[in-house]
C-alpha cells in the first residue's frame, strides 16, 4: 500500500470515527421517543436503563385517547394541513406567476413590501391577528381560523416567482400567438413545468401546518377544536397523565413525517435549501 492511499484510509477512518457518535447522539431522542411509546408508565419511571422497544404501544394509544381525544385531533390536523397546503400553493403560485411574468403598475411596490417585511418576527402580528379573528370575526375554534390567517406566508410567493421567472418566455409566447388565455397558460403550461418546485413547496407548507403550535394553541383552545400538537401539549405537565400515552402521540405525529421525509428527501431538501418556508 502506498503512503498516499494509507493517508487516505486514515482520513476515511477518522471521518467515520467522528461522525458516527455524533449521528447516534442525534438519532437518540427519536429512538427514545419510539422506545418510550412502547413502554408502560411504570417502566418509563423505573430506575433501570431501557434502550429497546417493548410491546405496549397500543395500550399507550388507548391511554392517550383516555386523556384526550387525540384521534379526533389528528383528524382535524390532517384536514387542516391538506386544505392549507392546497390553498397556499395555489395562492402563492398565482402571485408568484404575476410577479415573474407580467409588467404592471405597483409591481415594484409589491415586491418591496414583501421583501421589506419578510424578516419581521411573526410575534409582531400575533396580537392583532388574534383580536381580529377571535373578536371581530368571531371565528375562534373554527377551521377557518386555523387555515386562513397562516396563508399570508410570503416566502412561497418569492419561491414560485423564482421558479416561473427561470422558464423561457418562448414557451408562453407560442401559446399566446395561438390565442390561449392567460389563466390557461398558467394552469396548463406553467404549473406542470413547475412540478418539482410545487412538490418542494407543498411538502414544506404541509409540514409547517402539521407542526404549527402557537397559533392553533391561541385560537382553537376548545377541546373539540384542537389540533393534534395542541391536544398533546395540554397533557405535558399534568400530574395524572400517561407519559407512555404522550410518547405514543409524539410518535403518531412524527413517524408519518419521517416516512414522507425518507421517501421525498430530494424535494424536502430542495424546499429548505431554497429557504421556501421557515
Amino acid at each position: 500500500m502506498t503512503s498516499r492511499s494509507q493517508a487516505r484510509l486514515g482520513r476515511v477512518i477518522a471521518l467515520h470515527l467522528f461522525l458516527t457518535p455524533l449521528a447516534l447522539v442525534w438519532l437518540f431522542p427519536l429512538w427514545m421517543m419510539v422506545v418510550f411509546s412502547t413502554m408502560p408508565d411504570n417502566g418509563i419511571f423505573s430506575p433501570g436503563i431501557e434502550l429497546l422497544p417493548h410491546d405496549n404501544f397500543l395500550d399507550n394509544v388507548a391511554n392517550l385517547q383516555r386523556d384526550t381525544n387525540f384521534i379526533g385531533a389528528i383528524g382535524i390536523s390532517v384536514s387542516v394541513a391538506v386544505t392549507y397546503t392546497v390553498l397556499s400553493v395555489l395562492l402563492t403560485s398565482m402571485a408568484g406567476w404575476a410577479l415573474a411574468r407580467y409588467e404592471f403598475h405597483g409591481k415594484g411596490a409589491v415586491v418591496a413590501i414583501i421583501f421589506g417585511t419578510i424578516t419581521l418576527p411573526y410575534a409582531v402580528v400575533l396580537i392583532p391577528q388574534f383580536i381580529m379573528v377571535a373578536r371581530d370575526f368571531a371565528l375562534a375554534n373554527t377551521w377557518i381560523a386555523l387555515i386562513v390567517p397562516p396563508l399570508f406566508n410570503s416566502l412561497g410567493v418569492l419561491f414560485m416567482r423564482q421558479a416561473f421567472s427561470m422558464m423561457p418566455a418562448e414557451l408562453f409566447d407560442a401559446a399566446r400567438v395561438e390565442g390561449v388565455k392567460e389563466w390557461r397558460i398558467f394552469l396548463f403550461v406553467a404549473m406542470p413545468l413547475a412540478r418539482p418546485m410545487l412538490a418542494a413547496l407543498a411538502i414544506i407548507l404541509f409540514l409547517a401546518s402539521w407542526n404549527n403550535y402557537l397559533w392553533p394553541l391561541l385560537i382553537n383552545s376548545q377541546p373539540g377544536a384542537m389540533t393534534a400538537p395542541v391536544a398533546l401539549g395540554t397533557l405535558i405537565g399534568l400530574t395524572k397523565v400517561s407519559w407512555g400515552g404522550i410518547m405514543a402521540g409524539a410518535v403518531m405525529l412524527t413517524v408519518p413525517m419521517l416516512i414522507v421525509f425518507v421517501l421525498l428527501q430530494r424535494h424536502f431538501i430542495a424546499g429548505i435549501a431554497a429557504g421556501a418556508v421557515k
Partner: protein
C-alpha cells in the same frame, strides 16, 4: 413589454388580500396598540402607558436577558455545528451517506410539541435516561429543571438538536454550489486541506452562513414552545422566561394586548437591528 395590469392583478389579488389583512395590517395595528391602554373600555391613546411600564419592568429585563443569553450562546454553537455537519456530509470519503444525512436532517420534520415532550422525559431528574447514563459513567445526576443554569443549557441543547440539521441543509446546498476547480487549483499548489477550508470554503460560504444566522436569530428571538413545555412556563422561577413567553403571558393570559404589543415590537426592533448589522457585515470589502 407592454403593461398588463388587469391580467396581473387577477392573479395577484387573492394573495394580496390575505397578505394585507393578516400581515400588513397587523404589523401597523400592533404598533398602534402598543401606544394604547387596552385594559379600559374603550381603549385609549396613552403613549407612555405600555412603553413606560416596559422600561421599568424587571420581568421584561429578565426575559430580555434570558433571550439574549440563549441567542449569543446557542446560535453560534449551532451554526458552527451545522458547518461541521455540512462539510463532513459533503466529503467524497463518506460511506453510507444516506444514513448520516437521515440522522442529522430528521429533526427538521419533528414538531415542537413532540420533541419538547421527549426532551422533558429524557432529562427528568430521577428517571430520565440522560441522568441514568451520566450516572453509569460516574457523573452525579443533574437537576435539569430546578436550577437555572442546567435549565438554560437544556433549552439550548433542545433547540440546537432541532435546528442544526436545518441549517446544515442550507449550508450543504451552498457548499455544493462552489465549483470543483477552485479546490483543484489549490490542491495543485499544495495548499493543505485545513487552509483550503479557512481560505476558500468559509469565505465563499459567508453569504449562506449570514443567511442562516439571520434566520436563526429571528427564530430564537421568538423562542416560546421550548420554555413553555420543556421547562414548564419558563421555570425554574422565571429562569428560562423568554420574550416569547412574556408576550404570551401578557397577551393571552392577562389579556393585556397593549403591553404585549410593546414586547412584540421590542422583538421586532431587535430583529431589525441584528439583520442590519448582518447586512453591514456582508457588504463588499473595499
Amino acid at each position: 413589454m407592454r403593461t398588463q395590469n388587469a391580467t396581473a392583478y387577477r392573479f395577484l389579488t387573492p394573495y394580496l388580500l390575505i397578505f394585507a389583512i393578516f400581515w400588513i395590517w397587523p404589523i401597523i395595528s400592533s404598533f398602534i396598540i402598543s401606544f394604547q391602554a387596552t385594559r379600559t373600555v374603550p381603549w385609549r391613546f396613552a403613549p407612555a402607558f405600555n412603553w413606560g411600564r416596559l422600561i421599568g419592568d424587571p420581568a421584561f429585563y429578565n426575559a430580555l436577558k434570558n433571550t439574549l443569553l440563549i441567542l449569543v450562546i446557542q446560535v453560534p454553537v449551532m451554526i458552527a455545528l451545522a458547518i461541521v455537519m455540512a462539510v463532513l456530509l459533503n466529503s467524497p470519503l463518506l460511506k453510507a451517506r444516506g444514513l448520516y444525512r437521515f440522522a442529522f436532517f430528521a429533526p427538521v420534520v419533528v414538531g415542537e410539541v413532540a420533541y419538547s415532550a421527549v426532551f422533558r422525559l429524557m432529562f427528568s431528574l430521577d428517571f430520565g435516561i440522560v441522568n441514568k447514563l451520566l450516572n453509569s459513567v460516574g457523573i452525579s445526576k443533574i437537576d435539569w429543571f430546578s436550577n437555572v443554569t442546567p435549565a438554560m443549557a437544556l433549552i439550548m441543547i433542545a433547540v440546537t438538536w432541532r435546528w442544526a440539521g436545518y441549517n446544515a441543509i442550507i449550508i450543504l446546498a451552498g457548499l455544493q454550489s462552489i465549483p470543483e476547480d477552485v479546490y483543484e487549483a489549490a490542491t495543485l499548489d499544495r495548499v493543505s486541506r485545513v487552509k483550503q477550508f479557512f481560505h476558500i470554503t468559509l469565505p465563499l460560504l459567508k453569504p449562506v452562513i449570514v443567511f442562516c444566522a439571520v434566520l436563526s436569530i429571528i427564530g430564537t428571538m421568538q423562542l416560546f414552545t421550548e420554555p413553555f413545555l420543556i421547562t414548564e412556563r419558563g421555570g425554574p422561577g422565571g429562569g428560562t422566561e423568554t420574550l416569547g413567553l412574556l408576550l404570551y403571558r401578557q397577551g393571552f393570559r392577562s389579556l393585556n394586548f397593549g403591553y404585549a404589543s410593546a414586547v412584540a415590537y421590542t422583538m421586532a426592533g431587535l430583529a431589525i437591528a441584528i439583520t442590519l448589522v448582518q447586512l453591514w457585515l456582508m457588504r463588499e470589502p473595499k
